[in-house]
Symmetry: C2
């Protein structure tokens, strides 16, 4: 038996917490705190990254869990004070953008009201919004309406996993049901040598094995070489291998190189191999008249990953997986969940996102993109690509013009890898030169003055920027070089001679 | 060469869109619209579900993408008007809660400022918050600090996939690198027969094959039977099978049955088999002194999935995967991504979430839980469990007391399956009785008066509620029965005799 009196009392406590007036007061305070924060960050006042050692941060996060009734505003301010300020114009780091701020409000409509998908009826509008955007993105690829399909998932890594799992199931008949024991003998995936780690990881997850990931040769610009791919596929097939997919990049992350997709597609067709394109970063270039040529031929791919949370400047995560042939959309998984997917309305399966994605319950992850597109129109995305890609070129020209900086490639987009090579480093051995870059970066980001990342080029450490904040100016880029110079001088004056 | 004049003009357009004052004005409007909406919904004014046919909704979503400059407020209102109102007290459906409204504001701090993880330095505070909560949840399980590990992922399905992938890699040495060709012969997973579809799906994904999912027998209360499990494991092993894992439920979704975890653990230990517990729904019962006994023995599991976006009433998605032995945390994946994971700071790998999760870039998915816990303290979660579980019992007693309703089980939590059996249905054959339930439900949810779901029991269609909104009252539950009666009368008067 239920203790009705206790239930009533507990329920009254919860009703007070759910009170819409309480929500309203909190949302008003949230608005003021967040707006003030954004204004300061865009004005370059706080550090870019609020660096703290992991264990100190964890202890601090736990301390708040034990506090006696802190105020709402204090908690929000704590989150803002400890975070990473991606809207700071000197955040020029990973392929994670300073998102359109208002996009976060559309996203948050979904969070507060908890709009989700899995089956259509749980999120009819969330489903519709996602489908409308799949239609638009597929048309940007160059496909005919109703011939293609797609779905949103939580990030490019899940997108690559989804696309390659579909390729596995299409290529290795029976793999889904029987497992790979009898189906995967000599199965391989051919992967652009600079591909994101999630591609090789997908091979480990789906049972092909990371040893069966074959690297496709790159040319001197670190682009997949179609001629060598042709030879590689011919050799693999003649050896009795089943090639589950070729995974190309648009673009690869280290230096932002776009593969020659049209030529790769010809090779894949010739050998009857599934072509997957990881366009997580570069897909958005399709929105730009000036830069869409970088993806020429992408319409020939069997599957494409395109992250709206990268170069469409949406908050994480909103990744699209697109299939050229819509018949492939149900090949990823092959199950039924009768209690979930209503057998009395089988036509709804077409609209049940759970049939297509790794997620069952899925957030309305496309609300931000849909609202932003509706409010500002698609030319916003063209501007974002054009401005940041152009700034990549601007930065490259500054590097070229500087005696003590070396760009490592001519950029095709907003990713630029480079090194700082002051006079004292001109004849340093590679391991010292690389370690010097890493030490420069570590001191730079912990100072909070800029946020940039590191990479390897020719096996040697290097610096790397992604200009993924439209508020970054040419002046900020000048200051980045000046600040790196200052840190370099300090380092060398302090007697730095190499890694400890 | 860059056209500097064009770049300047485009950048000015973007600066206007990023303007913090513009954000502030939008956030103020957002606050007013959302607060008004929440007040109406909690007051039961709008429909629960705004039902519309899929193609009509998709066309409407596309129409907005083509509109010429709609106002921000119009777009937000459209999202609210078309959504599913989970905060309506008559939303009593899937295992997706009416979340704590203020939790959405904490979540939205992350969305607007785009706090993400993958490597520690990208989201130091997001990482710290997640780790602090992993510590708390693991301690609720009953584990000793520093002995266990865990991570947050985007939903219970990814959680089950993550846990079972870890089990595969631990059990089948070499599977990650070599693939399953030589490793998976006769490998099986033993799964509670009522387990969520994501468990069998995981077997398909990770290369074991859905045919190699062996159903564990249930007792008459639909709980996994430990004695039969013992016999099944002995037989499988004697036949030369490798058992990758036993996957138990706390609770299973159809009727909310909690498996006897302590007895299952003894059997798993005896046979040396990995024990996985899908506690996506029921994990939160550990926060309740009155209900934590339902998970007795869960501390013996090797891996546990616990969704904060279910019974901790957080917005989707925030699922915890917990490992009893922290040494297992790096077994899920076994790669390096040198450009991403800084070799100059190898100690940071311990804090790089990308080493542990399917996602690379990951949203700060635990902000809602951390902020809510800090603001209201952990007793909030106890109240939420106690109230909704108690209401499950209240509803069951109402069903028992009604002549024309039949509960299909005695509920252990807030999930209750039942049928409406008016006089005219008392002697109907099972397929008609089941179809009658489904038709009742379809009409009920499209009316917007209530949202409930359907299930199968004994192979026959049934109705099912999850009381996952603390605003639902006993009176709402009475009205649910009355409304179902009315629809039943209409149906039968209208000459309904069975499915078309």
């Amino acid at each position: 038996m239920v203790d009705v009196a206790a239930l009533t009392v507990a329920q009254a406590r919860l009703q007070a917490i759910y009170d819409p007036q309480r929500f309203q007061a909190a949302a008003q305070e949230w608005t003021e705190l967040l707006s003030a924060h954004m204004a300061k960050v865009m004005d370059r006042q706080p550090p870019v990254l609020n660096w703290a050692e992991p264990e100190a941060n964890i202890a601090e996060a736990e301390r708040w869990l034990d506090r006696s009734a802190p105020r709402f505003g204090e908690i929000v301010q704590q989150m803002l004070d400890r975070g990473h300020n991606l809207h700071h114009p000197r955040y020029i780091g990973h392929q994670v953008p300073a998102p359109v701020p208002i996009a976060g409000l559309f996203d948050a409509v979904g969070a507060v009201t908890n709009q989700v998908m899995a089956i259509y009826e749980m999120g009819p509008w969330a489903t519709a919004v996602e489908r409308a955007l799949v239609n638009r993105l597929g048309e940007q690829v160059g496909w005919q309406r109703d011939s293609f399909a797609g779905v949103v998932t939580h990030g490019g890594s899940l997108g690559n996993l989804t696309g390659l799992l579909t390729a596995r199931n299409v290529t290795l008949g029976g793999a889904w049901e029987e497992g790979l024991t009898n189906n995967a003998a000599r199965a391989v995936i051919v992967v652009q040598a600079d591909a994101h780690y999630s591609v090789a990881r997908a091979a480990g997850i789906i049972g092909l094995g990371t040893q069966n990931v074959r690297r496709a040769a790159l040319d001197e610009r670190r682009k997949l070489d179609p001629q060598k791919l042709d030879e590689q596929l011919a050799e693999l097939i003649s050896q009795g291998h089943r090639v589950v997919a070729v995974s190309a990049c648009a673009c690869a992350t280290p230096i932002g190189a776009f593969d020659p997709l049209r030529d790769i597609a010809v090779v894949c067709r010739k050998h009857g191999v599934w072509m997957h394109v990881d366009a997580a970063h570069g897909g958005a270039a399709l929105m730009s008249r000036r830069y869409r040529h970088l993806l020429d031929g992408v319409d020939q791919a069997d599957s494409i990953v395109w992250d709206a949370h990268k170069m469409m400047f949406m908050p994480a995560l909103c990744a699209f997986v697109l299939y050229r042939d819509k018949r492939h959309r149900f090949e990823t998984f092959r199950q039924e969940a009768p209690y979930l997917f209503d057998p009395s309305a089988p036509g709804m399966a077409e609209y049940d996102s759970g049939m297509l994605t790794l997620e069952c319950t899925k957030r309305a992850a496309a609300f931000g993109l849909w609202g932003t597109w509706s409010l500002f129109g698609p030319t916003l995305f063209e501007d974002l690509v054009d401005v940041t890609f152009d700034l990549g070129r601007v930065f490259y020209e500054k590097l070229l013009a500087a005696e003590d900086f070396v760009p490592l490639h001519e950029p095709e987009c907003n990713i630029v890898a480079f090194r700082h090579v002051p006079a004292a480093m001109k004849s340093a051995p590679p391991e010292i030169l690389g370690a010097f870059q890493r030490e420069l970066r570590r001191r730079l980001i912990e100072s909070g003055k800029f946020y940039i990342v590191q990479t390897n080029h020719g096996g040697v450490g290097a610096l790397r920027v992604t200009i993924i904040n439209p508020l970054t100016t040419a002046h900020d880029l000048d200051d980045l070089l000046a600040t790196l110079r200052e840190i370099g001088v300090e380092l060398l004056r302090g007697g730095w001679t190499g890694p400890k």
